[in-house]
Amino acid sequence: MRRLLSLTRLWTLIVKESIQMRRDRMTFGMMIGIPLVQLVLFGFAINTDPRDLPAALVSPTQDRFTRAMVSALELTGYYRFVAPDATAAEAEAMISRGDVVFVVTVPSDFGRRVEKGAEPSILIEADATDPSVASGAISTLGTVAQEALRRESGVSVPAPPLNVVVHRRYNPEGVTQYNIVPGLLGVILQLTMVMMTAMALTRETERGTMETLLSMPATPLEIMLGKVVPYLAVGAVQVAVVLISAKALFSIPMVGALSVILAGVFLFVLALVILGYLISTVARTQMQAMQMTFFFFLPSLMLSGFMFPFRGMPGWAQALGEVFPLTHFLRLIRSVMLKGADAATVSQSFVALTIFVLVLSGAALLRFRRTLD
């Protein structure tokens, strides 16, 4: 009995622990599932040297030199011209929304200048809010375009040197914080809001107060709003803190209208809080609620475009990324804060977030059990 380690006792403890582990199916499933899902998901989806980046081409003449250059650019694997014949205004809207990362503008006198041997020039505008995205593409650009031009002109007439004008839009100095800090607003809100509300209803169930609550006349909508509204207020405080420090500590430019930013933040926080509430109608213990929150949190962090360029992920991963409110919020906040987009430009993100709010609250109200069944 006085031995420090009895194998019988140790074995008994191990057996008991294993039984408990097996009974808690949720935890067990997550222990097996999370590594697998994350390995597959992130292993394939994450790409720090993003390729196939969407680009728009503004070229009023569309001559053979332009076509040659465009196909050469596509061959590098960096560019994918999703809008090969855009007007300047369309291209501007697309880059502002984040639909394209590059806008290549070929002036109408381009072909003439090549033929005359006068120095032709093209303009490449890159969305530099995330400085890492554009760097690879831009570095290959000059030589590839020059090469294409030389081939197209033939041997007889030597191609004149090409003048490539690069505009790193929105973040000319390539300051990483410009991209990260607005994103962090989304990430911080997501972690705290979802987790806090996920606990809210589960705590009532766990402590037994749910029974009293249900035996009194309160409707499911009242109970949900009663949980959601206080956390919205907490979210408002967080938003104020982050936005003020963004300005004061990191000097993040705030180009867009504050009202649009706040409207977006409000929708986002609402979606998060209701998501948390939905989790708390499913989870039976606070521990489970916590686990579910993390199960949701990690992929959304990876696939939303916060840590890795969204446009650099394969198509299926981008499609998956669309199911996270964070993805739409990041698009919105970066567009408005850094690019000065107006409400109309980011209306897609607003619509997406509104859909989240409606679908999640519908699901939460359906999930809510009026009885203890």
Binding site: G208, M210, S215, P217, T371
Partner: protein, 307 residues
């Protein structure tokens, strides 16, 4: 008597393949204190939850205070006070905050006054800012009862309200229940304690989800048709050994220096007891059958049915 406060018929509730409440029909008259008895896991709590709209029955129907238990849960909740088995108010709120919360949910007018009156009635006014979690078992129970009756319900459902409460607090609690009933409130109370069962106007005995006995205490004892004899003296231990398995003997329970022997077949029981009394040198007397004897018998019967 006016319309019954509770009338449910063929109430059934299953959890998975376990039938927890099995075809229970129950009637409780207005102004009556109805006891709800039965061993642990007999379905008392589930039946109460079914009747106050907290669970959806798998079968059966019924009316509580004239409202349909399936369709008019909202109306039932407004007129019923339900006190849960486990203290289920907010331990991290103060006493006053808890009462104020309840008053608000019932949409009471002049909430402040109602809460203040309740605090005075409870004798908790001085401790109103104490956290509910810091209260002792007896005080928690008083707080819970006060919170349940604050909205002046017509029916009170109490689920083992006196579990873990000392005898003095239990006595006070029952005095309060009788006072409320005298004012016209109907009370349904579940309990394990026999002395509490005897304080009820009528009792209903539930065993393995089935209602196996009901009526006044006297009726239940009479209907059981049991005979009880007592053996007293030095040789009770030996007598107990001799009685086991003999004709007519169904229960043997030692109480100090005496032995209660119970059975349905009175004649056989008396013969056996007389014989054993002679052998063991104990003295036999006839006794009244107690409610507890009846319940032990009912529990044994139900277990036999399960096997």
């Amino acid at each position: 008597m006016s319309a019954p406060a509770i009338r449910v018929e063929h109430l059934t509730k299953r959890f998975g393949d376990r039938t927890v409440v099995d075809d229970v029909s129950l009637e409780v008259g207005t102004g009556e204190i109805a006891g709800f008895l039965g061993p642990n896991g007999s379905g008392k709590t589930t039946t109460i939850r079914l009747m106050c709209g907290l669970l959806e029955p798998d079968g059966g129907s019924g009316r509580v205070l004239g409202h349909d238990i399936l369709r008019e849960r909202g109306a039932i909740k407004r007129r019923v006070g339900y006190m849960t088995q486990r203290f289920s108010f907010y331990e991290d709120l103060t006493i006053r905050e808890n009462l104020d919360f309840v008053a608000g949910l019932y949409g009471m007018r002049n909430r402040r006054a109602v809460v203040s009156d309740t605090l005075h009635d409870l004798g908790l006014h001085a401790r109103r800012d104490q956290l509910a979690g810091a209260l002792s078992g007896g005080w928690k129970q008083r707080l819970a009862l006060a919170a349940c009756v604050m909205h002046k319900p017509d029916l009170l459902m109490l689920d083992e309200p006196t579990a873990g409460v000392d005898p003095k607090a239990r006595r006070d609690f029952w005095d309060e229940i009788h006072r409320l009933a005298a004012e016209g409130l109907t009370v349904l109370v579940s309990t394990h304690y026999m002395d509490e069962a005897e304080r009820c106007h009528r009792i209903n005995y539930l065993s393995y989800g089935k209602l196996v006995a009901r009526g006044t205490v006297a009726e239940v004892v009479r209907d059981a048709g049991l005979t009880t004899v007592i053996l007293e003296g030095q040789g009770t231990a030996q007598a107990a050994r001799l009685l086991r398995g003999q004709p007519g003997v169904e229960q043997i329970a030692p109480f100090g220096n005496s032995l209660h022997v119970v059975g349905r077949d009175g004649a056989a029981l008396r013969d056996t007891a007389r014989r054993v009394a002679g052998q063991s040198g104990t003295r036999m007397t006839e006794a009244e059958t107690s409610l507890e004897d009846v319940f032990i018998q009912l529990m044994g019967d139900a277990q036999d049915n399960m096997a």
